[in-house]
Symmetry: D2
Subunit: 288 residues, 4 copies
């Protein structure tokens, strides 16, 4: 091991291309697998990767087992995916640093964190870092309500606020800019790149408070993994090896409580795990 | 919150003195509690603190609820105590740093981590950091067996090894130095301060490999808590408030799986939670 | 000291308002200073704060000494300002983390760092973090030249690139979007908030490489200061105390080589210290 | 660069064996160098490595240039060596963490840091971390004087103190234990491994304050280098390449102020750079 530290990212250079979307993609995967004389595939990834693995197994009896790895933590059959603890660590560290910069009156800091469909990183880092408002896809707080919260805080003498927003948070129809499209469901398709920028602009316009934005981006996917993520990955790896050894294909290693179990890939990828309302309660306990 | 970051340690300056060991200690606690006109006490600590809380409740019907806080993670009624994740983080970071210093042939690094009665920090940081040998109170690996493992590694061409040892690891009778006492059970009472130093000396003598030691000490108790520890503490705090509100005294907040429940203080302090053998299996998966 | 860790940010809640821009602003400062019966003012800040201090001293013989504190490191009379080393540390950490996320073909990561008028943070963190292109206000590399560099890299088989850009980097006339204004000098006034977003969009459009952005924002102003910044601040503080003691007002503590000296506030704020060309040479040594 | 982060330690597996101390050691070096048809050697290290380089050049006209790398920062011809900033960072982080553990009355924390002959790491990390007493080889503070300082602090109501000690700090004759040897100069040769342990024991015995020890050891040599160390190493490397290119052998890259210059290896290794008294003054400014 000496000299080799655990780190995030991909080393062997695999791609996340979905073979079901390529012409003859699946056939080429099957052919390549046979020609390399492989016995089994361990698919490590999130809903996309594991969804493909589930279909490969269901439709082609492909000898695959899964390991749940996504910083989004949105797989329903496991309590935690690995990568998530590290992403929360990095996002929390950023929020901590913002807390120490409270140098002006009536300033708002917006932090955009990852989470395309769910607010796990936003909620966890927001609680850990002491955010004042947390905006996630699961909970319908509008930008106006967010601004109301900020005004109430500042009226009570708090002149510095931190807003954490998931990249997947959706602006309402009224929040669209002239250059955005609004689709038939009233969802806003941003012309600009990210929700963090737009949100900061809207907050500044509506409250008059100077608003600054931090967009962490892929920084959350990298860095040295936390011990918890390394241990979880180690335990998942051992479980995956056992599943392969036992020929129990189509299954995925999962964490339930503090135990490693296995669940079917079909079940694991059936639906997204969203943030349940009790976490909003924890988050709100410290707002104000 | 602005400007106030979470941090380890004690702010209000409480002591860990056991009132049951002081003359009229308990009477003074009861009297002081009444004179301050308090409604309830939230006891935050490990087996010592919570053991006192359990007795105060059992013997005096004292209105106390408990929160499990110890870096040792050795309370049996909860999956995790807070403080532990941070201690593992700090210990793992130290092991990581040692990995990058492998500059000489046949060198051994000993890292002494906390854990008076159990090896939780050693096992978790050892797995996460990629230690080559882990010595803990629960598992009877002698110093000679440790030296054999190191020789086998080095014979296979690995010329750098990391040994993680819990402060509570007990040397055998044969490992005692001239200046140590050996009690009637064959346990060694070290004349020197810590087991890490002694172990390093024994390894160097018996294997001839240059051996260096790192003793982390109270560094493991401090620093910025990990997000996981902060969230766990937040959830425990909310549960403790609920327990007080509901008058359910004599109970302790606990983590079971991913849920916060409550257990009786008596149960929580009945016995230590030691590292179960399945964790040795995980640790061994990467040895060699 | 116990329990009090050094941290970034402002504790006493001062403002950066320029009294010379307020009606009777200077008169109120002078009056307030007299009414509090103060002997001296230690002005801690960058070109704005110290520029005001210089004028207060020059025009009103105000008893002020200066300490150079700005993360931008753009004060000409001192080798380094404090805050800068910490900002470079945080920006480098972000670049490090991006390096480990190289998981897709032909992807570009843009990191926007602070530096309104100068590229110090970009150059230093870019060298330390191994950036592939560094765009700063001082050096006229156009977006097209940047895209050419990226294409050449990717043609040579490097399919992952990191671009670090100072917030003060100016887009050329050809890089303006439909919604931006271009002033009479051909400078682009961005309608969107930051140069990082716009640059990422332009790179993606022109090269076809998937491009992601990280905007660190005020995260760079906070966090635990590096030991070097703490020591520098300590030494500056001692010098400032000496200057006050000796009645040498209108002077600023400065670092020259490894020595703390003093220079006149007028000299210190006369012009910005830009990144000299030899640093581009260091940065380019590792490009490719 | 992608995926390869800077890290401490040795990658190519060189040794620090001194060829002048091996029989025919130098002859073998010269022969090996010729047989590999090499043009030049870049020697990267501290006083030992560069001392050998200086002799190889002086006695054999060996084509060698030097780069000053040692965490001890004790080379007289350069303001800073690389590795030092990182070691100070790690030691300061440890001291920071100890500050947050001040949970008991009258407790002393001893931190042993590296520095065989000089106190650079101790002084810098002690100032940055806010140590209360700093013990280094250069300054004759006895253990008794240290204990007096601690008593005075605690008498003034400070009940928690941090003592930083260099590994090279020498105990006085009166501080020897029964098992230590005292040589003819009154220097103590410790039977135990390190000065930190012994110092903690002496402080506890003489003051009655509970005393704990942290021995960082090789942790200070590893980890991710700070940006400053990376930049310094980069600049040194460029200078070394220039020196080789120009055939200017027997020279060493050095930092003077903020400039990279070159000095002769003979000069650079003539004497150790010790901590000058003005640094004690900075350190003392915050004691108490």
């Amino acid at each position: 091991m000496s000299g080799l530290l655990p780190r995030g990212g991909t080393i062997i250079g695999t791609t996340r291309t979905n073979p079901f979307r390529l012409e003859e993609g699946v056939e080429r995967v099957l052919e390549h697998f046979r020609s390399e004389d492989l016995d089994a595939l361990v698919a490590i990834g999130g809903e996309d990767t594991l969804g493909v693995a589930a279909r490969l197994h269901a439709e082609h009896d492909f000898p695959v087992v899964g390991v749940p790895k996504t910083i989004d933590n949105d797989l329903s059959a496991t309590d935690y995916t690995f990568g998530f603890d590290t992403a929360v660590f990095i996002a929390t560290e950023a929020i901590d640093r913002l807390h120490t910069t409270a140098e002006s009156h009536n300033r708002v800091m917006v932090v955009e964190v990852m989470g395309r469909h769910t607010g796990w990183i936003a909620v966890m880092s927001g609680i850990a870092g002491g955010a004042d408002v947390i905006l996630i896809p699961e909970q319908p707080i509008s930008v106006d309500e967010c601004c109301d919260d900020l005004r109430r805080r500042h009226d009570r003498g708090k002149d510095f606020s931190i807003v954490v927003v998931s990249e997947g948070y959706e602006l309402g129809e009224d929040d669209a800019g002239a250059e955005d499209e609004v689709d038939q469901f009233g969802h806003v398709r941003l012309s600009a790149r990210g929700v963090g920028d737009r949100l900061a602009k809207l907050i500044e316009e509506r409250t008059g408070y100077e608003t600054r934005v931090t967009v962490l981006g892929h920084v959350q996917r990298g860095g040295t993994p936390t011990p918890r993520d390394r241990i979880l990955a180690t335990r998942y790896g051992l479980k995956a090896a056992d599943l392969v050894q036992e020929g129990r294909f189509g299954q995925m290693a999962a964490l339930r409580g503090d135990s490693i179990v296995d669940v079917s890939l079909a079940e694991a990828t059936a639906e997204l795990k969203t943030v349940p309302p009790e976490w909003f309660h924890v988050a709100k306990a410290f707002f104000g």
